[in-house]
């Protein structure tokens, strides 16, 4: 007697062994921490895509190609989520049942808000004076703050397990991303 699996191609059996209920961290065989070994993530991502990508099934039946597309989609989503500092934080908090980006969640330290306003004024000044050197300095400043908040988040999520403070830090990080994107737009405006 032949099992169903025996009639599938060797490629497809690799797909069948995969488990959709795994967390993103389990998928890549990584510990569920904010601190991330980026090289390990990249290597695990490539190895998985090497197995499930639709290009590995181009000569196989449609059903297998569809399954491969779903898996490759899943692996891409997991990779993108873990790769980016904000989405990784949001995802870790969601595993704790916390919706960090919930609309009602607006608490933010006054000092951080003040700093925000100063940065925005600096962006406006650089635009008005068409000074890309000022933008360069601002970018360095913003990136440094971004890295500092990331380090805080790793401490809060991985060691202190203070999810309330971590939620605020994730939202601060998102503010920083928006600011950095705004600076990018001003660069484009000044260069064109």
């Amino acid at each position: 007697m032949r099992s169903y699996r025996a009639r599938l191609t060797p490629h497809a059996s690799a797909l069948l062994f995969m488990d959709f209920s795994q967390t993103h961290f389990e998928l890549f065989g990584l510990p569920a921490t904010y601190a991330l070994d980026r090289e390990r993530l990249d290597a695990a991502y490539r190895e998985l895509q090497n197995t499930v990508h639709p290009d590995r099934f181009a000569a196989q039946p449609d059903a297998e190609q569809r399954l491969a597309m779903q898996w490759a989609t899943r692996v891409n989503e997991a990779y993108q989520t873990l790769k980016h500092p904000v989405s990784r934080g949001v995802y870790l908090l969601s595993l704790q049942g916390i919706d960090a980006l919930h609309a009602g969640n607006t608490r933010m330290a006054p000092a951080f808000l003040m700093q925000q306003m100063e940065w925005r004024e600096a962006i406006d000044d650089a635009r008005a004076q068409r000074r890309t050197d000022a933008l360069d300095a601002l970018t360095d400043d913003l990136r440094a703050t971004h890295r500092r908040i990331e380090a805080q988040l790793a401490e809060l999520l991985d060691h202190a397990r203070d999810y309330v403070a971590a939620t605020e830090a994730v939202r601060q990080l998102r503010f920083m991303d928006k600011l950095i994107a705004e600076v990018g737009e001003v660069y484009e405006e000044l260069e064109s």
Binding site: N50, D55, A59, P61
Partner: protein
Amino acid sequence: MALLQIAEPGMSSAPHQHRLAVGIDLGTTNSLVATVRSGIAVVLDDEAGRSLLPSVVRYHADGGIDVGHAAQSAQNRDPHNTIASAKRFMGRGLADVEDVASLPYRFVDAPGMLQLKTAAGVKSPVEVSAEILKALRQRAEAVLGGELVGAVITVPAYFDDAQRQATKDAAQVAGINVLRLLNEPTAAAIAYGLDNAAEGIYAVYDFGGGTFDISILRLSRGVFEVLATHGDTALGGDDFDQRVFCWILEQGRFAPLSANDARLLLTKARDAKEALTEHAEVRVTAVLSTGEMMDATLTQDEFNRMTAGLVNKTLVPTRKALRDAGLSADEVKGVVMVGGSTRMPCIRQAVADFFRQTPLTNLDPDKVVALGAATQADVLAGNRAGDDWLLLDVIPLSLGLETMGGLTEKVIPRNTTIPTARAQEFTTFKDGQTAMSVHVLQGERELATDCRSLARFELRGIPPMVAGAARIRVTFQVDADGLLSVSAREQSTGVEASVQVKPSYGLADEDITRMLKDAFTHARDDMYARALTEQIVEAQGLIAATRAALAEDGSLLNAAETAAVEAAIASLEVLLGGNDHHALKRGVETLNAATTEFAQRRMDRNVRRAMTGQKLENFG
């Protein structure tokens, strides 16, 4: 005794057989086909030894079609019916084409995609491209001696969903199984990456006849990852020709030009540009149909001055792509040059200055894309172990939905690695609302009207609820070819209403079916016409021969026999007036039969005549 091979169902019965797969570079100006032979990618030439097939198709009034060189040589004579650069019109409406006025074609505006009026009827750019693809398929099958398993067809990285879909449609009409649509710069990196076994960040600067693309890729351990891509779909070598063309007009001070003279001068402009690749200056001379003449010299310095703006225009998307990838120019380890326009010294210099390094030019910039596509086709067809490398591509433009107030809500941002899927929830804004209109958009702009509209559909059957209570989940799925499908579902009540949209922009599946049918019918017509012509020639020849024989040797037949042959000739002549090649064939057979006895007697008489007067010993 040979061992019997037992194949699993669904698997090839001969797993080690080499499957014929090709890479096709469907270019704006020229197209190529390549394949991997004995592990090496090679471009396939036509029977005259030429590798480039001009992407030009000429339609004749009698339904005949020329593709490539034959069509190109007729461009000046028959500009309306000779379609060049059809790629620029793929998935494009009339409003999208900036220089409609300066093109010699008779455009027909149609929803989604423009069409072209030719002597053989109205043609879609998809049909024009399909003719080019068909010619390449035939070339490949003739050279390789078998049917193709499939092809990898390249598209500019910046092509949106409509343009990609149109390309895939053209392949379908040409009877080609598309293994993958591959971004041109990625194909180029594959060609270089494998040859040079390079690791690190690479930029691919692809400057062709009609489009410019810049891609930033990371190559590591055999994985090609596209980090960012940008470009300009309306910038190419043609624009440089146009600048030289304007210079020629200034020098010549001509009266308003006829379409043919304009073509002639444009050709002169291109020749001058190409000559400047090798020479410091070029003499440009022309004589128009009006008798007007020009004779002037263009120097490389002058050429560089008048095209500096165009060169700089390529650096804007280049900076953007680097910024998207989060990299600076000095982190780029190598720059791959693709496309005929990168032969221009001013381009090479600008790229070298920007990246502070000499760009890679050791592969032929016209062939590098086809070579890379062939390599990928070989992997996808399963001809190599395939575990050695993988390609991870991204979508070039953001995908989103129109929201209240005509704004764009991005659902999948550009440069997201594919395949990918995203869902976004929406709600009703009126009490008791039971339907919702979903408008799918592609582009980076804030206003929906500034983005490309990909599809519109209605989600009906939402149970009546108070405003804001319904939860409508819209899911975008982009497959590995970069093609999108969208579905929507109301889920707050458990009542499901879902719809699947495949935005095959401009061409519905029925259109494709019609084109395929047209192509088949056409093929049958062609065969029929050839058979008829052959029979007519044969019948006319037979009648003439019989008449000549009757005049010469009529005495060999009695009156009744002569009448029978005359009757057979007469009935064949009647059939010649019709167009039924089967009936004609039967008429020819009848006449042949009626003259068999006559032919025998003539043969005998001729033999006797030949022997008469000969001495017996001559036969010894």
